[in-house]
């Protein structure tokens, strides 16, 4: 649409359109072209006049274009263009350059009709042909133009003049012919440039693929962009038309075109390699001919194919620091978290949406939905993810929204715990954790539930207690510690208990034994003396008998009998009774007769003590009986 004077447009088989104007040294051919095009513009002007009536006032756009880098002694074009017709154009002084021709004024105009709408653009151009005198950076100040009484300034231009190669400048196209024929990679090469070579995992890199040439490119036969394996990549700029700029590379001037600009993000740590960009470039090469007329009419060309490949680039990807927060899920960048909820006061079975929005610059596309601790009684649906990002040289900028839809099924007050979101902040090289707000949701009884409860048939469904998690039981807090105990078994104390108690046992038994033995001895003595003692008593009793003292007589006889029995049977006198005596005597094999006599005698004596007269036989009889009985017993009891 825009007809640009002095531009050569090629359309190649791979949809690359190469605009290679303004940068070639202007030979005879270009000037001829220029003249041809000017004629074309005159024709265009007529067309423009037809549509003049619909011309619309426009913003004034006044700018200057020129190659950024030129060689000294090289002719180049500098052109001022303005989109509105102006007057009193005032060029700045071109110090450091010599003006060969100019200003040559030309204009172009285009009209577009889309669905009946007419739009029109016009360009007025002031061209200069300059030549640089010596190497250095030269600033060309702004030019001025008056449009409708108002003065506009163009932009200021910087032009770098490098030392030209004399031989080439002298021989002109012939020199470059030679280079083409050698086809060396010095004349054409590609490179992949990255803005940094050491990054953290997840940090963005801008990769730029450029082609540098000093040859006339006819097109690309075959080309392959690096696959960026190990990276996530997104194209930022991928021009369908290549626009060449002149650049100074180590003192030599190349035409440089951007092939592709991508944002790449390493997905793993370690050393990653960006594979080379490879292409087969068709280069137009002039064929020298012997016919001088051929040269004059543009000469003949032939295509030559050159393979180029960029150098592989190594990228060192540092892993993220180890002290990751527990909930870290790989987010890198400068991010912000915000949350919102659509309502906090609902009836049961009404849906609520909680929005978590993460915005900023980082690997937003890789962020997974943060986990929210919803109360277990709430029905939760999978979060909806909405990504709204723009990829630019600044990285992936935008926001990502997670919509959590949930439905509380039971009335009550629920607390939705704040969401923790962690990311690695590239600015501070530290992990950051941001927290969303905490929400409290009040759920009232839903209407649906009330209807249900007022219904005729009401079936209650019982629910099992939900096991929410498994954990160990809590510590015990109320206890006392004790000093560690050694093993009791086999200790001195242990054995001593046995030994001492056994010794006590034996000792007590021995003591008892000897006691028993002693007692037995005493009884024997008493036994031996029993007869004598009783006889002594009986003698005393006979004394009382003679005196006629009845009471004392019987008393003494009883004493003699009881005393004898006590000594003989080893029973204390106090313990004696007629019962146990008769039992003991039977044991000693005393016959019934003797026993009966003894009992009768004791009865008689006891009776006589209180009623002496009633005793038959009198004291003499008793005395004789007692004497007989005791001597008889003495024989039986040993």
């Amino acid at each position: 649409m825009v007809a640009n004077s002095s531009s050569k447009n090629f359309i190649f088989e791979h949809n690359f359109k190469i605009d290679k104007g303004m940068n070639n040294s202007i030979g005879i051919k270009t000037i001829m072209n220029f003249l041809r095009k000017t004629g074309f513009f005159i024709a265009m002007l007529f067309i423009m006049i037809v549509f003049k009536s619909s011309a619309v006032a426009q913003n004034v756009d006044f700018k200057v274009t020129a190659p950024r880098v030129v060689e000294s002694g090289e002719q180049f074009r500098l052109s001022y263009s303005v989109n509105v017709k102006g007057s009193s154009f005032q060029a700045p002084p071109f110090t450091g350059f010599s003006v060969l021709t100019g200003p040559n004024v030309s204009s172009s105009s285009s009209v577009q009709i889309v669905n009946g709408k007419v739009s029109q653009t016009a360009t007025y151009t002031y061209n200069y042909i300059l030549v640089g005198n010596k190497a250095g950076k030269i600033t060309i100040p702004a030019a001025k133009i008056k449009v409708k009484g108002k003065v506009y300034s163009s932009n200021v231009l910087n032009i770098e003049v490098v030392q030209g190669q004399k031989s080439q400048a002298a021989s002109g196209n012939q020199g470059s012919n030679k280079n083409v024929q050698t086809g060396s990679n010095k004349d054409i090469f590609a490179s992949v440039n990255v803005d940094r070579k050491t990054v953290y995992q997840g940090e963005k890199i801008i990769a730029t693929i450029k082609i540098y040439t000093r040859l006339d490119i006819g097109g690309f036969k075959d080309y392959k962009f690096p696959p960026y394996s190990g990276f996530w990549s997104q194209d930022i700029e991928s021009p369908t038309q290549l626009s060449f700029q002149r650049e100074n590379v180590n003192g030599e001037i190349y035409s440089v075109a951007l092939l592709k600009k991508s944002l790449i993000v390493p997905q793993r740590s370690g050393g990653l390699v960006i594979d080379p960009f490879t292409a087969a470039v068709q280069v137009r090469e002039r064929v020298r001919s012997s016919n001088p007329f051929d040269d004059f009419f543009g000469g003949s060309y032939r295509n030559k194919s050159i393979n180029i490949a960029s150098k592989p680039i190594k990228i060192k990807v540092k892993p993220l620091p180890a002290n990751k927060p527990a909930d870290y899920a790989g987010a890198v960048g400068q991010l912000k978290l915000s949350s919102s909820i659509d309502k906090t006061n609902v009836k049961a079975n009404e849906a609520i949406t909680l929005k978590i929005r993460i915005a900023g610059n980082g690997n937003l596309k890789f962020i997974t939905a943060p986990k929210i601790d919803f109360p277990p009684d709430i029905e939760l649906y999978d979060p909806k993810k909405t990504i709204n990002t723009k990829v630019s040289e600044q990285g992936v900028v935008g926001n990502i929204t997670f919509d959590y839809l949930f439905i509380p099924r039971y009335p009550g007050t629920y607390r939705i715990a704040p969401v923790n979101f962690s990311y690695f902040d590239l600015a501070t090289k530290k992990y950051k954790t941001v927290q969303s707000k905490e929400y409290e949701i009040v759920v009232e009884k839903g209407e649906g539930m009330q209807e249900m409860s007022s219904g005729v048939v009401q079936g209650f469904t019982k629910e099992d207690v939900q096991l929410l998690g498994k954990d160990i039981r809590f510590i015990k807090t109320d206890f006392e510690v004790q000093r560690k105990q050694g093993v009791l078994f086999g200790s001195k104390f242990f054995w001593l208990v046995y030994i001492i108690s056994f010794i006590v046992f034996v000792a007590l038994l021995l003591i008892r034994r000897t006691q028993i033995a002693q007692n037995a001895n005493q009884a024997k003595v008493k036994n031996r003396k029993a007869n004598k003692l009783s006889k002594k008593r009986l003698r005393v009793a006979s004394g009382y008998l003679k005196k006629g003292n009845q009471e004392q007589f019987y008393d003494e006889v009883l004493k003699a009998i009881w005393g004898y029995l006590s000594d003989k049977l080893s029973i204390p006198v106090a313990d004696l009774s007629k019962d146990n005596v008769s039992e003991m005597l039977i044991n000693h094999k005393v016959d019934e007769e003797g026993l009966k006599q003894l009992m009768e005698l004791i009865d008689a004596c006891e009776f006589a003590r209180y009623a002496p007269t009633s005793v038959s036989g009198g004291m003499g009889d008793i005395f004789k009986k007692a004497g007989n009985l005791l001597s008889k017993l003495d024989q039986k009891i040993k």
Partner: protein
């Protein structure tokens, strides 16, 4: 007399330091409640290393290890707690939880049911309790036999004789149990593997044939020792050698 004096002195000393240890335990409990498990572990451990213990202390220490994901040490301490109090539900529950993390699943070698009953019965009390039962039983039996020998009353003599014989029997049995428990802990102590994975060798040298692989948290019985090496027996009957440093004795 002098021994009693020393004993009383020790009692007094331990009372003073017990109150100090108790404070340490309380602080550890607070650390645990505030989820500062590492600090809780170091506080509990210092109480243990000061020579104090209790079933609950080991239980709490085990919990703290569990919460810091040191499952093997958690198991060690739960087992120690069970040694002091074999019937605590909480300890048994948590030990089961911890054992779910143990990789090795080992079939326990079946035992004759009588001996397994017997073993379970013996393990209801530790050696010291059995020893005390035995000592008390012996003293009581002596007293009852004395009654038998010294009393004249036939009824007393009869009852004291039979009870005395019964108590003496109990005493002898518990003496045996105490002895058995002590021998088990001394000669065949149980241990827990603390290394994430260990290759068990056929002989106590590095070049020994590799027999089998066991993992952290497994309970084994140490049956023999040689230098730094311990011969262990698994509950499925497998036997092999591994390094002392791979084990912690319960």
């Amino acid at each position: 007399m002098r021994q009693i004096g020393i004993f009383l002195g020790l009692m007094l000393l331990s009372l003073v330091s017990i109150s100090k240890e108790q404070a340490l335990v309380d602080s550890a409990n607070i650390y645990y409640s505030n989820s500062k498990y590492e600090k809780a572990i170091s506080a509990y451990e210092s109480v243990v290393s000061n020579g104090f213990e209790s079933a609950e202390l080991y239980y709490n220490l085990g919990n703290a290890y569990y919460k810091s994901n040191k499952i093997a040490f958690a198991i060690v301490n739960y087992e120690r707690s069970l040694k002091l109090n074999p019937n605590d539900d909480d300890v048994i529950f948590n030990l089961r939880m911890a054992n779910t993390y143990v990789v090795d699943k080992i079939d326990v070698l079946p035992m004759f049911f009588l001996s397994s009953w017997m073993q379970r019965f013996i393990q209801t009390h530790d050696s010291n309790i059995w020893a005390i039962i035995s000592m008390a039983g012996f003293v009581l039996a002596i007293a009852l036999l004395l009654m038998f020998f010294l009393s004249n009353n036939i009824a007393i003599r009869k009852t004291s004789f039979w009870i005395g014989v019964l108590v003496l029997f109990v005493s002898v049995m518990s003496f045996n149990f105490a002895r058995k428990q002590k021998l088990l802990t001394e000669l065949e102590p149980e241990a827990i593997v603390i290394t994430p994975s260990v290759v068990v060798k056929s002989s106590p040298v590095e070049s020994g044939t590799q027999l089998f692989l066991i993992h952290e948290g497994l309970k084994v019985t140490v049956v023999d020792k040689l230098g730094d090496w311990r011969e262990v027996k698994l509950s499925d009957g497998n036997v092999g050698w591994l390094k002392k440093s791979d084990l912690v004795i319960i």
